[in-house]
């Protein structure tokens, strides 16, 4: 399963997201998903940067605004 599909699963499956919060590797194994070690590290960092599951989560609108300001 690709990184994209794991992100989708994370965004739509609350049970998987909760398991991930405690132990990402276990969460992947329990759901029969696979990521390389590097992908797992990038996704973990990406979720932290994006504020996944917090009140400060970064949405597309915010990303777009930052991109417009940057460009």
């Amino acid at each position: 399963m690709s990184l994209a599909q794991v992100v989708y699963r994370m965004s739509t499956d609350a049970d998987f997201a909760e398991l991930w919060r405690h132990n990402p590797e276990d969460a992947l194994e329990k759901k029969g998903l696979k990521l390389t070690r590097e992908e797992l590290a990038f996704l973990s960092n990406g979720l932290i940067r994006g504020g996944f599951g917090s009140n400060n989560s970064v949405g597309l609108s915010e990303l777009a605004l930052k991109a417009r300001n940057w460009m």
């Binding site: 690709s2 990184l3 994209a4 599909q5 992100v7 989708y8 994370m10 965004s11 739509t12 590097e38 992908e39 990038f42 996704l43 960092n45 990406g46 979720l47 940067r49 994006g50 996944f52 989560s57 970064v58 949405g59 597309l60 609108s61 915010e62 990303l63 777009a64 605004l65 930052k66 991109a67 417009r68 300001n69 940057w70 460009m71």
Partner: protein, 325 residues
């Protein structure tokens, strides 16, 4: 004045000088000059892509050379960048801002052509300078081969009816990654023939180019979440958030999303599409991929073992591009 600002000013002077000697009419030179300011006015370079024209000079210095050796090449690269940007706007029917609105697509294409030939004229100078004479053929050959690859990437991007996520990454690499990889590899080539180092600079540039392509895609999304801004739906449908969503959503949701995008002239449909894309986790996917590209660029640069002071400039450019996202 910062090192970066000095480099950019030197590059701009090179362009001015080349135009003065070109024999082109002063009115056409003035028009080409007006095409440049969208890359920023003096003093605003911190916030706009004009700063990327300093990449070849930084890579040359980082590889042990003098950044002034590459001013002509960097000036040509900047003009190619501007020309390609204009062509992109014309292809996307996105000529709404001044001065493009005033010129329209026909005049814009002519200006882009003028910029392409100005850039090619600057490259002929490589044959008359001691520091570049021996590598002039190699630089020209590598650059034109890269341009052909970029055109092929753009052709695929314009004609693929429903690009997959894998197609998107291939196209982003060929359209933007290759262009920036040439800025860095060929900039360093003025200073070294060490192929391992050249590959590292090439990879650094490639990752930066793909990051810029992602930002270009994001820019098209309306901040309010109520629509998709001023660009056409064809452009939105080829953007990373939409391609990601269509890749991961179940079939039934894909059908609904496509319908909503087709009707996105209607604000309600546009908002529904935006919400569906958002719910699919598009922003987390994009941030994660940006994280991957940033990490790869950083590793490549570290492997190149860049020299001071350009090493800091190259790390800073990457940080500026990614840390705020």
């Amino acid at each position: 004045m910062s090192f970066q600002r000095q480099s950019i000013n030197s590059i701009l002077r090179k362009i001015e000088y080349s135009w003065q000697l070109s024999g082109a009419s002063s009115s056409f030179i003035e028009v080409m000059h007006r095409a440049l300011p969208f890359f920023g006015e003096q003093g605003q370079s911190e916030q706009n892509p004009l700063k990327w024209s300093a990449l070849p000079g930084f890579c040359c210095q980082a590889a042990g050379g003098d950044p002034r050796w590459v001013d002509g090449f960097a000036a040509a690269w900047l003009l190619y960048y501007v020309a390609a940007h204009i062509m992109d706007k014309v292809e996307d029917q996105d000529i709404l801002e001044s001065p493009w609105q005033e010129w329209g697509s026909r005049v814009s294409i002519n200006i882009a052509s003028g910029l392409y030939f100005s850039a090619s004229l600057l490259l002929t100078d490589l044959y008359s300078q001691n520091e570049s004479l021996a590598i002039a053929n190699e630089i020209n050959g590598d650059l034109y081969r890269a341009f052909l690859r970029m055109c092929a990437g753009q052709q695929r991007d314009l004609t693929q009816p429903e690009p997959s996520l894998s197609d998107y990454w291939d196209n982003a690499n060929d359209k933007s990654g290759v262009f920036f990889s040439m800025a860095c590899r060929l900039g360093a080539r003025f200073a070294t023939s060490d192929n391992l180092k050249l590959q590292c600079y090439e990879e650094y540039g490639r990752n930066i180019g793909i990051l810029i392509q992602i930002l270009d895609d994001l820019e098209d999304f309306q901040g309010s979440g109520e629509g998709f801004g001023k660009v056409t739906m064809q452009v939105i449908q080829r953007s990373l958030p939409v391609i990601y969503a269509l890749e991961v959503l179940p079939d039934q949701e894909c059908i609904l999303l496509k319908k909503e995008l087709e009707q996105a002239y209607n604000q309600q449909a546009a908002a529904a599409a935006f919400k569906r894309i958002e719910k699919s986790g598009a922003s987390y996917y994009i941030i994660t991929e940006m994280e991957r590209l940033r990490s790869q660029a950083r590793s490549s640069l570290e492997r190149a073992q860049p020299e001071q002071p350009a090493d800091m400039e190259l790390f800073d450019l990457l940080g500026d591009l990614t840390y705020q996202f």
